[in-house]
């Protein structure tokens, strides 16, 4: 990543997540490393099964031994090793320093608790506010995330609100304790496009105003393009390309990224323009071969791609996992 050169806020080294399934062991995340600096937004882009959600969930302990997963690698948050913390210390970091917004606010909110109370809960637990102060702060937060009549809404239950409103509430909960890192896991996938636009505007606004770092997980390249500083593309559990957002879209190095961008229909194309589809389908993670996971679908595949797994190579501030990277001009300015 080409952020400032000081210590990153979040530093992940060689993250791995393994599941054991009926069909044998499955490596959902396979040696992913990245750095995230304060105030930056990292978009993690991938399809289902790419490991993007599992990766981030494993960092914050949502995927781990209790869910039958084997987790390895190092996770440094402000220089502290999160994997080495006691459960109590870990909970305190999660409650105050890291906020999380999930895809479906219907399941991430407690259906039988008034939303004002849900927002205030973290403040009471982690910031030591009394109920009155927490309730006051909850109303302020509801106002901040753009919910009209916050006093009345604070007394309502999640089912009394629309999907977009619920996601605003989830964002209010996530930012209540003023975290340094906001993780948004497909935050708008369950929403309509016009609502998605509003929620993404809100997330971006909060991120900038509060100077938080953000990890935005999405399968939608359009969402990542408009909202992130840097992008990490994942495929079959590995990071296959990392670069500044503009460079990814302008000159992708990894053939997968290139093919994905080419396959998207665009409003600027005439009707009935044939899409350049990617042949084949994503690999079965339980039946992994030795070579490049994208190899079987790749136009530029050679014998070497079948024999060896290409490592993530860093050149000029950007990385790609490919023996035959695209683009002849020098790599983007770091």
């Amino acid at each position: 990543m080409n952020g400032p050169s000081n210590t990153p806020l979040l530093s992940v080294r060689n993250a791995q997540v393994n599941f054991s399934t009926a069909r044998g062991p499955l490596r959902a995340v396979d040696g992913v490393s990245f750095d995230l600096h304060a105030g930056r937004t990292l978009g993690i882009v991938g399809e289902s099964g790419s490991g993007k959600s599992v990766l981030v969930r494993s960092l914050i302990g949502l995927v781990g031994e209790s869910s039958g997963a084997g987790v390895a690698g190092q996770v440094l948050f402000e220089g502290r090793d999160l994997r080495g913390l006691s459960p109590r210390e870990f909970r305190s970091v999660l409650g105050t320093e890291i906020g999380i917004v999930f895809q479906d606010p219907m399941t991430s909110l407690n259906p039988v608790m008034k939303i004002g109370r849900q927002i205030g809960e973290g403040l009471r637990l982690n910031r030591g506010l009394d109920s009155k102060a927490a309730a006051r702060r909850a109303v302020e937060l509801l106002n901040e995330v753009g919910i009209p009549e916050p006093e009345r809404r604070a007394q309502q239950y999640p089912h009394e609100m629309s999907g977009g409103m619920r996601q605003r509430v989830a964002i209010a909960i996530a930012i209540a304790c003023a975290p340094k890192l906001l993780i948004a896991d497909e935050p708008t996938t369950a929403l309509d496009v016009t609502v998605q636009r509003q929620i993404l505007d809100l997330l971006q606004g909060e991120q900038r105003q509060r100077g938080m770092a953000m990890i935005l997980i999405t399968h939608d390249l359009g969402v990542a393009a408009g909202r992130s500083d840097d992008i990490m593309v994942m495929y079959a559990g590995r990071a296959v390309e990392t670069a500044a957002t503009r460079e990814i879209f302008r000159s992708p190095r990894m053939p997968y990224t290139e093919a994905l961008l080419r396959s998207l229909p665009r409003l600027s194309d005439a009707t009935h323009t044939r899409l350049s589809a990617i042949p084949g389908r994503p690999p079965d993670l339980a039946r992994r071969s030795g070579g490049c996971a994208f190899g079987p679908r790749c136009l530029y595949r050679t014998e070497r791609c079948d024999a060896e797994q290409p490592p993530l190579t860093m050149v000029g501030g950007r990385g790609y996992a490919c023996f035959h990277p695209r683009g002849t001009e020098p790599g983007g300015a770091a």
Partner: protein, 287 residues
């Protein structure tokens, strides 16, 4: 939307499929023993379960009488095995009756909904509102005690539960797009019910059947205990417990042995039923 698929994959991956477990060998082995003995009872050289030998009454277990003798000097081992036959016949057949009738009612209710559903649910509720044991008692008291009538009475009692299982599952499946797809090709309701929905109901119905067997075995025991079950001298576990109760202080084995056998059988059925339910859970079998 592909993200939700991803989440599903994670959930599926984090729930390793329950595999064969050695602890299940015990209940399965016991059930197989009970079934085999019940089937082969006539050919394994058992004494007549009804033959009385009053001099040898209430004998504790010995080399001659492996499980002792009862109040009338009848061989307990022989009676337990022939009683297994009775219990299994009632336990297996009664829920089948319930599943056939209740399944048809529940499927119709869940599929057609509207008035059919209202009628079916009303019928189920009425049947459930009767105290079940009293209903069975009345039934056998009027129709007379026989293996057939006891099975019939307990079968009727299992209709509401079977209908509920069938209705809930049908409701869930009837809303799936493949049912809509079957309609777009012009398939009749009968064809959709039998070809599209029924195959998906079989696993939960089978799990229900296993659980129902154990419930019915206990219910049959209760009926016999009250003297309205299988008529004497045909042995049944419930009847044996009832007989043994009289001599509980002098010959406790006469009541405890059939009670222990019933306990072990019902417990084994429940263990195996749970295992089957886990195996047929669609989220697991989809893996």
């Amino acid at each position: 939307m592909s993200a939700s698929a991803a989440k599903g994959a994670v959930v599926a991956a984090t729930q390793p499929r329950r595999r064969w477990h050695w602890a299940l060998a015990l209940p399965l082995g016991w059930l197989m023993l009970v079934v085999v003995l019940a089937i082969t009872a006539d050919w394994i050289g058992l004494p007549d379960p009804s033959a009385q030998e009053l001099i040898l009454r209430r004998k504790p277990p010995s080399a001659e009488f492996l499980l002792g003798t009862d109040n009338l000097g009848r061989d307990m081992l022989s009676r337990v095995i022939y009683g297994a036959r009775t219990s299994l016949i009632v336990g297996i057949c009664a829920p089948i009756l319930g599943l056939l009738v209740g399944g048809a009612i529940g499927m119709s209710a869940g599929y057609f909904r509207g008035k059919v559903d209202m009628l079916a649910v009303g019928f189920i509720d009425i049947l459930l509102a009767f105290p079940s044991l009293v209903l069975a008692l009345t039934f056998t008291a009027y129709l007379g005690q026989s293996l057939f009538n006891v099975t019939l009475a307990l079968g009727i009692l299992s209709i509401p539960a079977a209908a509920r299982v069938a209705r809930a599952n049908t409701l869930a499946w009837a809303n799936r797009d493949f049912v809509l797809a079957a309609r777009t090709i012009g398939a009749s309701d009968w064809r959709i019910l039998t070809r599209e929905i029924l195959p998906n109901l079989l696993p939960p119905m089978f799990a229900f059947w296993l659980v129902a067997i154990s419930v019915i075995i206990v219910a049959e025991g209760a009926l016999s205990f009250l003297g309205l079950g299988i008529p004497a001298p045909q042995p049944s576990w419930g009847g044996m417990i009832a007989d043994g109760r009289e001599a509980l202080d002098v010959a406790p084995h006469t009541a405890l042995i059939p009670a222990a056998v019933m306990f072990a059988t019902v417990l084994s059925l429940n263990f195996v039923g749970d295992m089957v339910r886990n195996m047929v859970d669609p989220r697991r079998s989809a893996l």
